[in-house]
Structure formats: structure tokens, C-alpha cells
């Protein structure tokens, strides 16, 4: 089963997609298996982090901007190399476990689409394998 989530993103930030992925898993009817979440973009990524206090993802944005500022030495003509670096650091796929028909997540875990070069229309693919 392959599904697609469509997002309209802000300039930057972490957009929670936990509920959308949970719904896809539950609608699949798969009880035991794995779930691959894939970001087909090169200036965005996927990550799992705290779902409760929104200050955490606000702090993550601040940290990523500190780790990967724009640098005058960059040559990429589009001018968004700092976002490409953040994408490398974040990663473009997540591998999740399905158990008893549900995503196996920790109490505090939420799944986020990390936008580093928005606003844009973005997609996320979700693939479920039974086993």
C-alpha cells in the first residue's frame, strides 16, 4: 500500500503529520509490519521529536538555523544551500514499526515534516509492508 500526504508549508518550521500517518496505518488494516515515510524533496526532511510542548520544535528551528546559516562561500546559484545542508542533517525517510494495528511510537513522539525552504506545496509518501 502506497499513500501520499499533501502539505502546504510555511517559510520554515516543523509540521506535525503524526495523525495523518496513523490514519493511513489504521485504514490499511495491517496489524504487524513496517511503515516507510519518504520525503521526495531536497530542502526538507522528516524527523521524530517531542509532540507536547510546541517550544521544542521552535527551539529545533533556532538550532538548525544556527548550525546551518547561509554562508558567503556557497556557490549554488539558487541561494538555498543552507536548506540543502539542513535536509542532509535531518534525513529524508523514517522507518516505523506497526504493532497490533497501530504505529509503535513513544509517549512523547510526534512525526514532523521539516520545512527548510518554504512556503511550498510538498508531498510525503507512506508505504506499508506487512510482516
Amino acid at each position: 500500500m502506497l499513500s501520499k500526504i499533501e502539505l502546504s508549508t510555511p517559510e520554515e518550521g516543523f509540521i506535525k503529520i503524526t495523525r495523518e500517518i496513523m490514519n493511513i496505518v489504521e485504514e490499511s488494516g495491517v496489524k504487524e509490519g513496517i511503515c516507510t515515510v519518504f520525503c521526495p524533496h531536497t530542502t526538507a526532511g522528516l524527523t521524530i521529536n517531542e509532540n507536547a510542548d510546541p517550544d521544542v520544535v521552535r527551539d529545533l528551528t533556532l538550532a538548525m538555523n544556527t548550525l546551518s546559516p547561509d554562508r558567503k562561500e556557497y556557490r549554488h546559484a539558487e541561494g538555498n544551500s543552507s536548506a540543502h545542508v539542513k535536509a542532509l542533517l535531518t534525513g529524508s525517510s523514517l522507518q516505523l514499526i506497526i504493532s497490533h494495528g497501530k504505529l509503535l511510537l513513544g509517549t512523547w513522539q510526534g512525526i514532523y515534516f521539516a520545512e527548510y525552504d518554504g512556503p511550498r506545496s510538498r508531498n510525503v509518501f507512506v508505504k506499508i509492508i506487512e510482516g
Copy 2:
């Protein structure tokens, strides 16, 4: 097959869990497949790095503390945003290959649980898919 590893972690550092995961793979009897290792926490992660010289993971801890210091601009009330950033940079899952009944790892590769906000009781889930 879904298994759980339970860990008691120190304040920070990389805890080797290669042997525990190898045992789960070997006990499963699966000869060919993939193995997903998942960390259900938001201030810790999973990584693969050198298994021989313990100075490597000591140097990794030093580097992560340099890359993600505490910052006075952070707002998260719990005060551990620097650990949440390290978790983002490290990643929360590993995807491994099973071949001839064993984990396919390079000579120098060990599997580590990265603790960034201990000491705590932590879990790691291991899911095996045959194929």
C-alpha cells in the same frame, strides 16, 4: 517478530547494543530480510559507528556537545532542548540487512544507543521482516 531491549543509561554517551540485536536476529531464525531498530524516545537516538576504539564514541560525545550546546534563547521549559537537537541530528531508527541468518555489518561497525539526556530507563524495539 517484534522484540524489546531495555537499557539503563548514564547521563550521556553511546551504549553499544550490537550483541543484543545480533542475538535477536539469530534467535529469529530468519535467514534473509531486514531489521528495523527503533528508539521511542525524543532525547536519544540510534547510530552506527566504530566498535573498536572506545575513544571514537568519546569523541562523538564531545562533538555533539559542541554542535548542540545549551542556548539561552531556548524556550522549552524542561531545559533539555540541546538533547532534542542531538536526537534530530542522530535519527531515531536504523535499517539493517539480514543475510545468511546474520546482520550484515562492516568490520568496524557497532550499533549504539545515543543517550543525550540520562540517566534514564530506555527501550529499543527491534522488528524483523523476512524477504
Copy 3:
């Protein structure tokens, strides 16, 4: 199905392996499934980033060297701890989706082997699971 790609790498940089992985997927005959790409080395990694403008991966190299310079505090006798840190930040596996017999990649996505401590002979493993 398990395949191996062999590479001779330069001192550092991002080597495109998109075509090699696409070929393995197409030769497998698998129409729907997932594809795990695994790097069995501890001073290199795997990442997905822009495939069009070669200045992007040139800028990524510059950024990784800025994020992880050699540090006099490092103790690892081999002297390549900065490369081990880059490997941690990059990650050692990619999880890809196969749809309609092809890799599901975004328009601008290329798959790269990230060499942080070459030149060396390196391997990449590719495992396909149907489902």
C-alpha cells in the same frame, strides 16, 4: 535480493549512485516494495540531495567540514574523528520506496555516497523487499 555496489572514492565528496541503484531495482523485476541501501563503513554515509547543480554537493562538503572540523581535543589515535562525526550526522542507511517497478524519487533527488575519509575502496549494499 541482495546486491553490492563497489566504489573507488576520492579524498572527500558526494558520489552519485542513483543510476546504479535504479538499475538494481529494475533488474530485480520487483514492481512494488521497499529498497534498503546500507553503507558498511564508519567514516562515510548515504544521503539524498539535489541531483542537478553540482554546486550543491560542493556546498554540502564545505558545510560538513565547517560543522565537523578536526578538534585538538579528539583522542582517537587514527586522527579521523571528524569523519566519524560526519558519518553520525549523515546516517548509514536509506530507505526507499519502489512503485510501478521504479524507485520513487522526487524530480531533484539524487542518491549519494558521502565519503569523509578517502580515498578508499568502499561498498554499498542494496536489499529489496517485495510487498
